[in-house]
């Protein structure tokens, strides 16, 4: 039996693609290597009695149109946007909290600088405007540039209009900012180190660059696509952890008729005469299919699953040149009690991302270490306490804290990610946070470290990068995953990509999967 479509990988993007295809009436089978679908979106018992999202805090932002389209709410998905976005304790004992409400945030900023507080609303408005332009770019299959043809012209025209809609001055401003470093952009606006550190941290999220590197202003914009206007660095959390998102997506996909097979690792994408005819599993089983859609990252798909003989060496070279460079580790801390921050956070502030990034220089120095292959001695931290939202993740009265640590590069120079390196990392996290919440030192019951290396080994993520490749200017839109192949297709006929390694990239749960499904449906003439 030849199947219509096989989706490799049951992570968020794979499931979204499957759900969209199944909804359109196409029979689809998802093959997931692990025992449960979800990929990175999995909630596991990381330490006895403590459950957590293994790879970190969030799968990124789920765009409302995907949630609506797939009716994820009806499937039990509950999304929570905490009122506090960022809680950033400062070395001087104060703390800066960014709220989703810009007025409240401005009041907060006024304690540091009246002038910055005055500028805050205008900044958030510009950020939101620019993010909306990106949102339009992200909703479409990237047009071919410069060899535009067919519907590319309509796409380009639409995007051009969108850009013009900003007005003359803001349009240029958008182009200018997109090319800048987040430090320069923020320096244009603000004077307060605490504020620039807290906001600028969003410009280096999961990229091996510092805030002074060009292109980091774009990263900040990227992480505001789809988010509520006025809120800066807000988060969308899934009640019950990311596992709940995976469950909802699985249920919805199944409901539309998709078949989801777990514990079915794919060994090879079978190619004959330049066209895929199906996949071979690790067990040796062959599954014939007309089309294969891979949600694995581009390098793993093209250089791991497709036999090399079928590919042009230039294409392989381009795939191998994609920069992954995982830079973030996660430290899970089991806590006997909540941390007491000396800066006395306001009610609800600890539901934010507790951020250690007191200045742009702090972030830059953290990056300096990583440039030479070291772990940041003073890392940029982003901690969450998911038990504040869902106490069931830990034993009664106990808490769980997940801390994203950047920079913890995949490629360590003159070292490996061994037990000692992990312990050192956990020590430095506890020490750093302990500066602001002294009781942390004694309240840690257990620690669990997940390095980029672990992500690669456990989830098949090349170099441990959850975004399947850095979101840098040379690796986005028509360049993602590689130039000339940004339309979810590959040089192998019938083989498509739908993971975060494709446009619009990582941090936007399901957006690449949705776009890939659209492209496939167009090809099928079903849309």
């Amino acid at each position: 039996m030849t199947r219509e479509v096989i989706v490799i990988g049951g992570g968020v993007n794979g499931l979204v693609t499957a759900a969209y295809l199944a909804k359109a009436g196409i029979p689809v089978q998802v093959l997931e290597a692990r025992g449960t679908p979800g990929g990175l979106a999995g909630t596991e018992e990381v330490m006895p009695g403590f459950r957590s999202d293994v790879a970190g805090l969030d799968a990124g932002w789920l765009l409302p149109d995907i949630a609506d389209h797939l009716k994820l709410g009806a499937a039990g998905l509950e999304l929570v946007v905490p009122e506090a976005s960022v809680f950033s304790p400062q070395p001087d004992g104060r703390a800066l909290t960014l709220w989703t409400d810009p007025t409240r945030t401005a009041e907060e900023i006024a304690r540091f600088s009246a002038e910055d507080a005055r500028r805050w609303p205008a900044f958030t408005a510009q950020l939101a405007r620019f993010a909306r332009v990106l949102e339009a770019v992200y909703a479409v299959t990237p047009p071919r540039i410069p060899d535009a043809r067919g519907r590319d012209f309509a796409t380009l025209l639409g995007l051009g209009r969108r850009l013009r809609g900003l007005g003359r001055r803001e349009m240029v401003e958008f182009l200018r900012v997109a090319a800048m470093s987040v430090a320069e952009w923020l320096d244009d606006w603000f004077a307060t180190d605490a504020l620039k550190g807290a906001v600028g941290a969003g410009g280096v999220t999961r990229i091996l660059q510092g805030p002074r590197s060009a292109g980091t202003a774009f990263v900040l914009l990227h992480h505001h696509v789809g988010r509520p206007a006025g809120a800066v660095r807000s988060a969308q959390l899934v009640k019950g952890g990311l596992g709940a998102l995976a469950r909802a997506l699985t249920d919805v996909a199944k409901g539309f008729g998709a078949e989801i097979r777990t514990s079915a690792p794919v060994r090879e994408i079978v190619v004959r005469d330049g066209r895929t005819i199906g996949v071979a599993l690790e067990t040796g089983e062959h599954i014939a299919a007309r089309r294969v859609v891979s949600s694995a990252d581009p390098r793993r798909t093209m250089c791991g699953l497709v036999p090399a003989a079928h590919l042009d060496p230039e294409f392989v070279r381009a795939i191998n040149n994609i920069r992954y460079r995982g830079a973030v580790a996660t430290v899970h801390l089991a806590l006997g009690e909540l941390p007491h921050f000396t800066s006395r956070p306001a009610d609800g502030a600890l539901r934010a991302a507790i951020t250690v990034a007191p200045s742009l220089d702090y972030l830059e120095r953290a990056y300096d270490d990583a440039k030479y292959g070291g772990v940041s001695r003073q890392p940029f931290l982003e901690a969450r306490i998911p038990t504040l939202l869902d106490p069931s993740l830990a034993p009664p009265r106990q808490h769980l804290m997940t801390v994203q640590v950047q920079y913890a590069p995949y490629h360590l120079r003159g070292g490996v990610w061994d037990a000692a390196a992990r312990e050192r990392l956990a020590d430095s996290v506890v020490a750093s946070l302990g500066n602001y919440a002294p009781n942390l030192h004694t309240s840690v019951l257990a620690r669990h470290v997940v390095t980029p290396k672990d992500l690669e080994e456990r989830f098949g993520l090349t170099e441990g990068h959850p975004y399947h490749g850095e979101m840098t200017l040379d690796q986005i839109v028509f360049m993602r995953p590689v130039a000339g192949w940004a339309r979810y297709r590959t040089p192998i006929k019938g083989l498509f990509l739908c993971g975060a390694g494709t446009h619009p990239g990582g941090g936007l749960a399901g957006a690449p999967g949705r776009n890939a499904a659209h492209e496939l449906l167009l090809k099928e003439g079903r849309r």
């Binding site: 540039i145 060899d147 003359r168 349009m171 090319a179 200017l473 000339g484």
Partner: protein, 526 residues
């Protein structure tokens, strides 16, 4: 009432002189006003020490547009460019990496370090050649404003679109990568030899406040590949008589077309009447009138000093204010009693007629940048060293030599500010670092001139000592240089134009800004 000029050019640097020459060539009566005692701006040769002539600031040439050389017949006015034959990078293990004028010799040398890189070099060279060809027409075009719907701008955009289409996807994508990547990442895609990547990426950091791992530097790398001498790409040269000879030759051409040049004539402000430029006021109070005023000074000087904020739209002022200079380079000029003897290549050889690059590894350059990032000059700086007297013996007395050392990074905003003591410490660092590779250097020094970005600013007037009149960062190029909507040599002040490196395409002794400004002025019927 004094006479009225068709055009007054403020500043006698190479761009100002090019504009003047082109305008005069078209029959305009032109006056150039230069603040210093001689023309040239940052392209001057001066005898700082008796018998020794230095290209005090800018020291090599490759970007000077061939059409300018042709149009102004510069060779007739004394321009002669002598090729720099090689680049040699001494390595810390006593070895070296050399790139010679002869491609076969270079290939053999690179092969010694890595056969793979020797192979890659051929393809890389070909791609860079294509990229430079792709960018050339853009350098020669007045940037269209993408926000404008005027027929002229739309036509410009259409032309640009056609140009990109004609290049084909492969080259456009390669160009896009060059525009957005760091030179280190870009070179990683091609090469494996660290010292080779370092030496190549060094040209990506010149004049910027960025390290080789900073995105955007790959473009600057290309900027330095675009040099063109006698049609051969990536050929750097040295002007006979020093860099000042270039300025003198352009001034000569300008004079032949009837341009009057006044030195020691500092302009203090642009004379305005009802928002229009009427002429200029000199420091001595003298008022000079002109139908058109053109400033070759950088955007800060032109708008914030000569025009003044109250005369300008608020948005424009804030755009000019945030335009980044961030000077990052210094210069050390040495008069030498004898030639330096490099340990890696002892004795006198062809390597002394080329450039010596102190760029042993990418990390070395990056660490040099780290120091500057936090407000110090590099403890181990990048240096580009040439010995002009080996190419043009008239630069020094017989048997003696001059050495020109371009140094990075020396931040303009150094912690505590630049003092005499700090300048000397900087000079010591430079000499000490170089002496590690050529131990006889210290005893050979007869005279030392150390130039910090603060000195560059003081002497030439370049804001923050930035040698390009503003960083060549992605967000300060093309239609954004120096400010959106005003990247076409015009200014918000009617009859006032700009023609310096702070306009597209900017940077280096290229003259393209000066030429395009002149074309725009003539096109406006002025």
């Amino acid at each position: 009432m004094a006479q009225t000029w068709d055009a007054i050019i403020i500043g006698g640097g190479h761009n100002g002189l090019v504009t003047a020459a082109y305008l005069a060539r078209a029959g305009r009566r032109v006056l150039v006003l230069e603040r210093r005692y001689r023309v040239g701006g940052a392209a001057v040769s001066e005898e700082i020490y008796p018998g020794f002539k230095f290209s005090v600031f800018s020291y090599v040439v490759s970007l000077l547009r061939p059409e300018i050389i042709r149009d102004l017949d510069l060779p007739r006015h004394g321009l002669e460019i002598l090729p720099l034959e090689s680049t040699v990078t001494p390595m810390d293990n006593g070895d070296y990496l050399a790139v010679w004028g002869d491609p076969d010799k270079t290939r053999r040398e690179i092969y010694r370090h890595s056969p793979r890189d020797a192979e890659a070099m051929v393809e890389f060279g070909r791609l860079m050649h294509h990229m430079a060809q792709a960018v050339k027409p853009i350098l020669g075009m007045i940037p269209p404003d993408p926000t404008s719907l005027s027929p002229r701008d739309l036509l410009g955009l259409l032309k640009l679109g056609r140009h990109f289409r004609s290049l084909g996807p492969e080259h456009v994508h390669a160009l896009y990568k060059l525009m957005t990547m760091s030179s280190a990442d870009y070179l990683d895609e091609w090469y494996e030899t660290d010292v080779l990547k370092a030496t190549k990426s060094a040209s990506g950091i010149i004049g910027t406040f960025l390290g080789p791992r900073s995105p955007g530097t790959a473009y600057v790398l290309l900027h330095h590949y675009m040099g063109e001498i006698d049609g051969s790409f990536r050929a750097w040269g040295f002007a006979k008589g020093g860099t000042g000879a270039i300025s003198e030759s352009i001034a000569g051409a300008a004079r032949r077309f009837g341009v009057e040049i006044r030195t020691d004539a500092p302009v203090t402000r642009v004379l305005l009447k009802r928002g229009r430029a009427m002429g200029v006021v000199l420091e001595n109070g003298e008022e000079l009138r002109a139908r058109t005023v053109v400033s070759s000074l950088d955007p800060h000087r032109t708008f914030l000093e000569l025009v003044g904020e109250p005369e300008l739209p608020e948005d424009f002022v804030s755009d000019i204010r945030r335009y980044k200079f961030r000077g990052s380079s210094g210069k050390v000029n040495l008069a030498l009693d004898e030639l330096p003897n490099f340990t890696c290549m002892p004795g006198v050889g062809p390597h002394l007629r080329g450039a010596i690059s102190v760029s042993p590894s990418v990390d070395y350059l990056e660490r040099a940048y780290d120091d500057a990032k936090y407000g110090e000059f590099s403890r181990h700086p990048y240096m580009d060293v040439i010995i002009p007297s080996m190419i043009d013996p008239h630069m020094a007395p017989p048997g003696k030599h001059v050495m020109s050392i371009f140094v990075q990074y020396a931040p303009y905003n150094i912690t505590g500010g630049w003092t005499d003591a700090k300048r000397e410490a900087f000079g010591d660092t430079v000499v000490d670092t170089l002496a590690r590779y050529a131990p006889n250097l210290k005893q050979a020094i007869l005279h030392r001139q150390v130039i910090t970005p603060a000195d560059i600013e003081r002497i030439t007037g370049l804001t923050e000592g930035n040698i390009f009149q503003g960083e060549l960062a992605l967000h300060q190029l093309f239609f954004l240089r120096p400010a959106p909507r005003w990247a076409k040599y015009r200014t918000p002040i009617r009859r006032l134009y700009q023609c310096g490196s702070g306009t597209h395409p900017g940077g280096g002794i290229m003259g393209a800004s000066g030429r395009l400004a002149a074309l725009r002025i003539l096109g406006d019927g002025r």
